[in-house]
């Protein structure tokens, strides 16, 4: 691009043609005040405070929108500029209330800051009364439009970054303001309470509501959100050892200035009165408070006794996809090296095991192949079995931006009408559990019409011919019969996907939580390789439910793998770790999560250590799990809250929250990001890492780590693809993969189309009719999934005062057609019965569901939807089928 040279305050500076004066000035370290400008949004030049003067002709230019041109002689601070700026500021202040003393925005108010900078005090102009406070009952956001300066940032962040479109300008002239559709309160609009407008508002016009602790943040710490797998960077504002606010980090490559309602307002669980503040030991069925010394020696004794009496494999350890990499690494070392068992697994078994198994077999790497940036650059995006708007909001934002602003085409494959369908060029609604048939059908169309990426397939993959043969049956006609999707739509989707220069496939739990999950993942990988979209460009995006699902598995909190997916079966792998740790490691693969529970029920496993997980709420058949855990001789749980699982423990170790510790999380992209401690641990709680290290010491096997940094350094040594993480340098923004990819050829990234093992492998997968759908006696299919306001098993989100207040109960969503047929209305009390159990709740009629399909959110401990699910496992990945099951409904309110 062409360079343009201008004179800026007497100094010659150059920038690319098209750069704005403001951007060039900022690059050159010259300050220009702004109010309506934001680096993540398109500039509109609304506030005019960024005026600068071109001294050649005296023109006053709004520097945020004026591009540099050759020969410009810019003065950013000429007397004329200063005079105009002051006058503009005075005009803005003339319609702004003098309520700074009581305004909670305090010193973070940009208007106040600018007034102070420019020395603008009392305004001599006649005050114009402005719009007032808007009555709203939601617990998250309040709007006082008397303080609005019409910078339009809230509208732009809503429409450009989050792409929700809940607000826009209404009316004109002096009446103009930001409003929702029909000027309704936010809770009656399409607002998702992501909080982006609150974070970006320069004044106190849009503020956070019902905060746990009042006061202005005195310190801000940048760390990583602990909820979903996106791994957004959040800035926690702290005061008096309390978290008082959470804001998006504007320069985060993941969140880019927008979080979701959980990230922005769900942090208040940290200060929930239910927090466990000290270790507990159960004595005669009652918990008694204990010191750390007492509790840990009790644990060492309990686990030691079982090992002595019944052998190491009578013990099992359950790691957490919510804890840090360092904690999971040390936990698996504790399991293998200290306890001597491979019976270790982590919470992601419940939702992403199929993904790991399927991708591992196909592309040789068990995760997402590209970054969010690559996703947003894609020309075609196919979303199958995922509702990222709910489960991975940052991914949804990226997809919506790609469609709305970069002309990408979106294919949504989902039986439900998710928020993404209105952005889709094609929306296919397959029958539940028929994904494999559809994916194979798409592949067959692409092959038949010779739309495959021949070069990629020939050079980079293996077993193409064998796989092609397996597609013989998947004609468009057959696929239409099985999935219910018209032939022409299958063909259109195939053509769109294959025709794109760069295409990405995003999938989530709608794929992985079926019994055929692994097969469907393989089918997705096949499709991506067939179209040349596996890593070189576009990619496969495997969404992860929890913040560190990726990391927990990378760290070897898995029964069959040492850290870095190095199989425990192979002596060579074990030897590396044995040399490092000393002693010998157990050789046979251990039990996976559900197998542990079964073994506990059968009395084969007698002692268990659970770190930060709540299996009673997150596993199918809570009653059985409860029974299994109760039958253990010894159960130790580390957690922040008295969860359903904690109540069954022999010893409870009070753990610190994400805000109280250091370490790293690995997000769904594989981005390793660093946590920073914001506050001291609440009460006497301790970070899990500290707990594990102390425990190891008490058991007489002290580990040679003094800090999380020591652990990460060992991880870098022992896990090939973490070698470049360079913990010491990993700042809050995580790693810049671009640099790493360029400099170290051995990384896990499938950059330049290279697979870790050299070749991607096509594997045939066959469609089998689903077992987890409506059947005789149970005429409806119930789907379980995440809701917007809660998360995971609900241990944390149910203890967030605001999230619980706004969304207190799990409602059963039913289609209008089914509701009419069954005589069920909105808000009717009903009983859901499956072959496994029953559950009572109330209904909500929803037009997003097809006939025959019900939806119920997980994450509400009071309505444990998993009561209804069986413990059927995906035979390959050993994850339970937790997406759908067959049910029937009855009204229980007596009117039916």
């Amino acid at each position: 691009m062409e360079a343009v040279t201008i004179t800026l305050n007497g100094v010659e500076v150059s920038g690319y043609a098209g750069t704005t004066i403001l951007d060039l000035a900022r690059e050159s370290g010259v300050y220009i005040p702004t109010l309506c400008h934001d680096p993540n949004l398109a500039s509109t030049g609304a506030c005019r405070l960024c005026l600068v003067e071109d001294e050649r002709n005296g023109a006053l230019l709004a520097s945020c929108v004026a591009a540099i041109s050759p020969g410009m002689t810019i003065n950013t601070n000429s007397p004329r500029v200063v005079e105009h700026r002051k006058r503009i500021l005075e005009l803005i202040l003339a319609s702004h209330p003098d309520s700074c003393l009581v305004c909670d925005k305090g010193n973070r108010c940009q208007l106040r800051k600018l007034a102070a900078e420019m020395g603008v005090g009392l305004i001599q102009l006649q005050k114009i009364p402005q719009n007032d406070v808007i009555e709203e009952v939601n617990p998250f956001i309040e709007r006082d439009l008397s303080k609005c300066v019409m910078c339009g940032k809230c509208i732009r962040v809503d429409q450009e970054l989050v792409v929700e479109g809940a607000i826009d300008y209404i009316h004109r002239g002096t009446m103009v303001r930001a409003a929702t559709l029909n000027d309704m309160p936010l809770e009656k609009s399409e607002c998702t309470f992501c909080g982006a407008c609150v974070a970006i508002c320069p004044t106190g016009a849009i503020m956070e509501k019902e905060r746990v602790y009042t006061g202005t943040a005195t310190n801000t710490v940048t760390t990583i959100c602990p909820y979903c797998g996106c791994g957004c960077t959040i800035c926690l504002g702290t005061k008096d050892n309390q978290i008082v606010e959470a804001r998006p980090a504007v320069d985060s490559p993941v969140s880019r200035g927008a979080l979701c309602v959980r990230g922005s307002y769900g942090y208040d669980f940290i200060h929930s009165p239910e927090r466990l503040t000290q270790p507990l030991i159960k004595v005669d069925g009652e918990f008694q408070e204990a010191t750390w010394e007492e509790a840990l020696s009790r644990v060492a004794e309990g686990l030691g006794q079982i090992k002595k009496d019944h052998g190491a494999d009578a013990l099992a350890v359950f790691g957490s996809s919510k804890c840090t990499n360092e904690e999971n690494y040390v936990l698996q070392r504790f399991a293998r090296g200290v306890l001597g068992t491979n019976n270790i697994d982590n919470g992601s078994r419940l939702y992403s095991a199929a993904s790991r198994t399927g991708l591992g077999a196909s592309i040789g790497y068990a995760g997402t192949t590209g970054s969010l940036d690559a996703l947003e650059r894609s020309r075609v995006i196919m979303v199958i079995g995922a509702n990222p708007e709910i489960s991975a909001p940052a991914v949804a934002y990226a997809i919506k931006r790609a469609v709305r602003f970069k002309e990408a085409k979106l294919i949504v494959i989902d039986p439900r009408n998710t928020p993404l369908t209105q952005f889709a060029s094609l929306w296919l609604r397959p029958g539940i559990g028929t994904d494999v048939a559809l994916l194979n059908g798409l592949a067959r169309v692409i092959i038949d019409e010779k739309r495959l990426d021949v070069e990629f397939v020939t050079r980079m993959t293996d077993n193409f011919t064998g796989w092609t043969k397996s597609l013989q049956n998947y004609t468009a006609g057959y696929v239409e019969d099985v999935t219910g999707i018209a032939k022409k739509d299958v063909q259109a989707a195939a053509r769109l996907l294959a025709g794109a220069e760069e295409a990405s496939i995003v999938y989530g739990n709608g794929i992985t939580q079926h019994t055929s999950g692994t097969d469907a993942v393989v089918a997705i990988a096949n499709l991506a390789m067939l179209t040349g979209n596996a890593g070189r460009r576009g990619g496969i995006f495997a969404l992860q439910r929890e913040n560190n699902a990726h990391g927990a598995c990378d760290m070897g909190a898995l029964p069959g793998f040492l850290p870095g997916y190095q199989s425990v079966d192979e002596a060579e792998n074990r030897q590396r770790f044995e040399e490092h740790w000393g002693g010998s490691l157990p050789t046979a693969a251990g039990l996976s999560a559900l197998e542990m529970m079964k073994a506990a029920g059968l009395g084969k496993v007698k002692g268990m250590l659970i770190m930060g997980e709540n299996p009673v709420a997150s596993f199918p058949q809570p009653a059985l799990i409860r029974k299994a855990l109760s039958s253990l001789d010894f159960l130790v749980v580390t957690d922040m809250f008295p969860t359903e699982t904690v109540k069954l423990a022999s010893v409870v170790l009070s753990a610190a929250s994400f805000a109280e510790k250091e370490g790293t999380f690995t997000n769904f992209e594989g981005r390793v990001q660093r946590l920073h401690q914001a506050i001291e641990p609440v009460g006497e709680s301790l970070p899990d890492l500290e707990i594990l290290l102390r425990l190891a010491e008490v058991t007489g096997s002290k580990m040679p780590y003094d800090s999380h940094q020591d652990v990460m350094e060992e991880i870098e040594d022992m896990v090939p693809f973490y070698r470049h993480v360079a913990y010491a340098d990993t700042d809050s923004m995580g790693l810049d993969w671009g640099d790493v990819e360029g400099s170290s050829p051995g990384t896990r990234r499938l950059h330049k189309g290279l697979f870790p093992s050299g070749f991607g492998r096509f594997s045939p997968v066959e469609y089998t009719s689903p077992q987890d759908v409506a059947t005789d006696g149970y005429p409806l299919t119930l789907m379980a999934g995440s809701g917007r306001y809660h998360f995971g098993a609900g241990s944390r989100s149910s203890r967030s005062a605001r999230l619980s207040k706004f969304s207190p109960a799990a409602l059963l969503e039913i289609s209008g057609a089914d509701a009419a047929e069954l005589g069920i209305g909105d808000g009717d009390a009903i009983k859901i019965t499956s072959a496994q159990g029953e559950l009572s709740t109330t209904t909500k009629v929803s037009n997003s569901l097809p006939r025959g399909l019900l939806f119920m959110p997980i994450s509400y401990p009071d309505s444990p939807v998993y009561e209804l699910f069986g413990t059927v496992l995906d035979p390959q990945a050993k994850g339970p089928a937790l997406k759908t099951c067959a049910v029937r409904l009855e009204r229980t309110d007596g009117n039916g």
Binding site: G165, A166, D168, I170, H171, A179, M184, F423
Partner: protein, 164 residues
């Protein structure tokens, strides 16, 4: 909050009519205003249910459609009366007593400027100038001009129009 029109339109009615309108558009965002105009011609106002349909058709947020509808005076979010009365308040009319004419009109119809009578007969609006200053003060009913208005003539004019 902006009060929503009470109408008897079903979603299907709105969808049917809009389908016809959309058939001669491509779905580009710059078609918004012509679409709104045509929608208003069909329904005599912009029904709330139409906003969603137009938003989906143009791939724009519903709030933006609403924002544009509130920006232009020509768009109405409530149904208009069968007859539209516009009382001129231009300079010439103003000095010759337009305010009194308007007040009388408001009194007789029982509504304020900008409102519609309960029986949906009349909508009363004001206008800045209709270009007939020689006849000031003036007013129009459905495009028909009435000049040299007086408060006394208001009843007469209304009587006239109701016969028409």
């Amino acid at each position: 909050m902006i009060p929503l029109a009470k109408d008897n339109l079903t979603k299907a009615d709105v969808q049917d009519k809009l389908k016809g309108i959309f058939s001669h558009y491509k779905g580009n965002q710059e078609e918004l205003i012509p679409i709104l105009q045509e929608t208003q011609e069909n329904f005599r106002y912009l029904p709330a249910a139409a906003m969603r349909e137009i938003a989906d058709f143009l791939h724009m947020p519903e709030s933006t459609i609403f924002g544009v509808s509130t920006f232009y005076a020509q768009f109405k979010l409530t149904p208009l009366g069968k007859k539209i009365i516009r009382v001129c308040r231009g300079t010439a009319c103003h000095v010759r007593g337009a305010a009194k004419v308007l007040a009388e009109m408001e009194k007789q119809l029982g509504i304020k400027a900008g409102q519609t009578t309960d029986d949906m007969e009349y909508t009363l609006e004001t206008v800045a100038c209709i270009g007939a200053c020689a006849l000031a003060p003036t007013m129009t009913i459905d495009g028909e001009t009435y000049g040299k208005m007086t408060t006394k003539k208001v009843a007469e004019v209304l009587g006239d129009s109701s016969k028409a």
